[in-house]
């Protein structure tokens, strides 16, 4: 990768130790990452993020607008990207459903942007003020056609800050939508958040081209690097951006050869880098009989259950996904050679567990611990399944 690494702009970095909730921490993460334009639409439990952004941005230098609906918000931000800004899109379940077409637009046009989904119970209006992790498959598959995204899952306000910056950096590196998959608990829970000085925060710059107008082709790539270089409107390149299947110049080219060239590239720029995009926390997995795989808020409850199981003498590994998409298939396959079973608690009726089953191909037992949402698992529930799995 050739993108430049910079230090954060101190104007957006609220250095210090704070006692704030995940939504506020996420907003500070975005400001630290260089986000200076947000078009938002309020929805519980994500609203505090845009409220804070609206309050902070005049002093940082930038602009916030509350749009008329989620359709407008999720595409206005993409206009902002093509005018040169870093942007984020903030929502929760029902809003996310409305935004799905523009998820595809961002993927197709390779518009770097961060999407924050503070997950609540669904489907439909569901549980506006209570948690779930039930949008995991929607962000991966919800827009029509084939596309790839990256998704990160924080389990504390501190991580809402840290992973937000990582999400921005990845979106610039891969030029794709990157999701920060929060949930109502993480969004609304208040804890200590340490924001480092700006010069300790690394920022990935946009992959600006050095080519001149005339030489530059908006979607030209090489076999080594599947991510095209970028320009912005107003710089004389007269770019054309379209959601139609397009050629290297960005012009509509609706035919089989161009589709066959473009779509695999959009997927492979992520898929070929699954190893680089591996981000997990592993503890005690080497000699484990049972591995508990979890993410987000559930990983905290799972850790409590794992500690209790270890106290009973069981060999339990703790595998936590920081990056959920792309899913670490290879890692799961390697672990499946060694363990008896995987236990997968999640705040949905069984979504990421399907990926685990797909990876292990029936070699070992995979126990799902579903939950319809509204609260978190009881550690005892997970403990029971660990004991069951260890048998």
């Amino acid at each position: 990768m050739t993108e430049a690494t910079l230090k954060a702009d101190p104007k957006g970095v609220l250095t210090g130790v704070h006692f704030i909730d995940g939504d506020h921490a996420a907003c500070e993460g975005a400001l630290a990452a260089g986000c200076r334009f947000v078009a938002g639409y309020p929805i519980t439990p994500s609203t505090e993020i845009v409220e804070r952004f609206a309050a902070r941005i005049p002093k940082v230098g930038g602009v916030f607008i509350q749009m008329e609906d989620e359709l407008a918000a999720s595409i206005a931000i993409q206009g902002g990207v093509w005018a040169g800004h870093k942007v984020m899109n903030v929502t929760s379940g029902p809003g996310l459903s409305l935004m799905m077409e523009h998820l595809g637009y961002a993927a197709m046009t390779e518009t770097p942007c961060v999407w924050v989904d503070v997950q609540r119970g669904g489907p439909s209006t569901g549980l506006p003020t209570l948690p779930a992790q039930a949008d995991m498959m929607q962000v991966k598959w919800g827009s029509h056609g084939d596309y790839e995204i990256i998704a990160l899952s924080p389990n504390s306000p501190q991580e809402c800050f840290d992973l937000m910056i990582k999400a921005f950096n990845l979106s610039e590196e891969y030029r794709c939508p990157v999701f920060l998959m929060m949930d109502e608990v993480v969004g609304h829970m208040t804890e200590r958040v340490n924001i480092p000085p700006a010069d300790q925060i690394e920022i990935t710059d946009r992959k600006w081209t050095k080519k001149k107008p005339g030489e530059y082709k908006a979607y030209a790539t090489t076999s080594d690097d599947l991510v095209p270089e970028m320009v912005k409107a107003g710089d004389g390149y007269r770019i054309h951006v379209t959601g139609l299947t397009h050629d290297e110049r960005g012009y509509p080219a609706m035919d089989v050869p161009n589709q066959a060239k473009l779509i695999p590239r959009l997927l492979n720029k992520i898929r070929n880098n699954t190893e680089q995009l591996l981000d997990v926390r592993m503890d005690g997995c080497d000699d484990a009989d049972v591995i508990v795989m979890s993410f987000g808020i559930t990983s905290r409850v799972a850790t409590a259950a794992i500690e209790a199981a270890r106290a009973k003498g069981l060999k339990v590994g703790n595998l936590r996904l920081i990056i959920c998409w792309p899913f670490p298939v290879k890692l799961i396959q390697q672990l499946a050679e060694k363990v008896k079973a995987f236990v997968v608690p999640e705040l949905n009726m069984g979504q990421m567990v399907l990926e685990v089953r797909r990876a292990v191909e029936g070699k070992v037992k995979v126990i799902s611990i579903p939950h319809p949402g509204g609260t978190v698992h009881e550690p005892e529930t997970i403990l029971e399944q660990i004991i069951e799995a260890a048998r």
């Binding site: 002093k59 930038g62 595409i75 993409q78 637009y105």
Partner: protein, 315 residues
């Protein structure tokens, strides 16, 4: 001798060149529009308006949604975005707010702009967002095969109202006016020079400017309603357009094959969205606030004015 020949050749070349060509992506021609369609003449007027306006064309961005008019963004040689159905205005809003130095122009059809995108249209007008919106109104969804739109006159036939349209249509100047647009004009595609002039004024207008151009859809709307060809429609426009600058927009409704008011209906000044953002934040935050989106000369002028004010106060 040879010099004068070169000159003559150069002159001949100049004369032959279509003045619109430099504003088109010539490698994208031929276009998809049908013979007799009015969109092309609006694009010609737009190109001519840009030329006359002397605006830096590299600071103009063109945004369109989906549909026949939605294809304009792909043919004009500017920074351009061809977006999703109905969402040209939000994208334009994003471009404009993220870089206020850009003059952002939306090209949209009646279905795209006021059907699926109607909410964005009224809200951008309400905010007096500094955008220029050009609507080619042909009373139908052309690209998808002639369905009814929010502007199809009552009684007209469309593929989804095969027994005649029983809905009441929008009058777009009235809608834009009620929502808060600060520049509103309507012409037909026959009125090329007027369209050019209005677009030029719209480009220079500060605030939400809206130019509606009534235009024939020969393949679908005309054929389905047995209204003849493009030339017949231009004749209809000539016979039935009534010029009335400053008309009350409540009188701008269009009946099926009835009379149409054309002209510049509204031109007024009020703070744009960004003006309002800056005024509010400057008042609240004071000297720490950095005006957002002011061009360097504007900022310079404001500084000077402020300094003068202070001096006066000191005296």
């Amino acid at each position: 001798m040879s010099e004068s020949l070169d000159l003559r050749l150069a002159l001949a070349e100049t004369e032959l060149e279509n003045p619109v060509l430099p504003y088109l992506r010539q490698d994208r021609i031929p276009h998809i529009w049908c013979p007799g369609c009015g969109i092309g003449s609006v694009v010609t007027s737009f190109a001519e308006a840009v030329r006359r306006s002397k605006l830096d064309r590299d600071k103009i961005a063109v945004v369109s949604g989906i549909g026949c008019t939605g294809r304009v963004a792909g043919y004009v040689d500017f920074d351009s975005m061809h977006t999703t159905h109905g969402r040209a205005i939000p994208v334009a809003t994003g471009l404009h707010l993220a870089n206020p130095d850009l003059k952002v122009v939306v090209f949209s059809g009646d279905g795209d702009l006021t059907g699926i995108g109607g909410n964005h249209f009224i809200h951008a007008a309400r905010r007096n967002m500094n955008l220029t919106v050009i609507c080619v109104n042909n009373f139908t969804y052309g690209m998808t095969g002639g369905q009814v739109t929010p502007t199809t006159p009552s009684g007209a036939n469309a593929s989804t109202t095969p027994y005649g349209n029983y809905e009441y249509p929008f009058s777009l100047p009235f809608l834009a006016d009620a929502a808060g647009a600060t520049y509103i004009a309507r012409w037909t595609s026959l009125h090329s020079r007027n369209v050019t002039q209005s677009i030029e004024e719209a480009l220079k207008h500060k605030g939400f400017s809206f130019v509606e151009v009534i235009s024939p859809c020969t393949t679908l709307y005309l054929r389905r309603n047995r209204l003849g060809d493009g030339v017949d429609t231009l004749q209809y426009y000539q016979d039935n357009s009534i010029l009335k600058h400053g008309a009350d927009t409540r009188e701008t409704a269009i009946d099926f094959q009835g009379k149409m008011l054309v002209g510049k209906f509204v031109e007024r000044q009020k703070p744009t969205y960004l003006d309002a953002v800056n005024a509010t934040c400057a008042k609240l935050i004071g000297d720490d606030y950095q005006l957002y989106g002011k061009t360097p000369p504007e900022k310079e002028a404001e500084k000077k004015a402020a300094a003068k004010g202070k001096k006066k106060a000191a005296k």
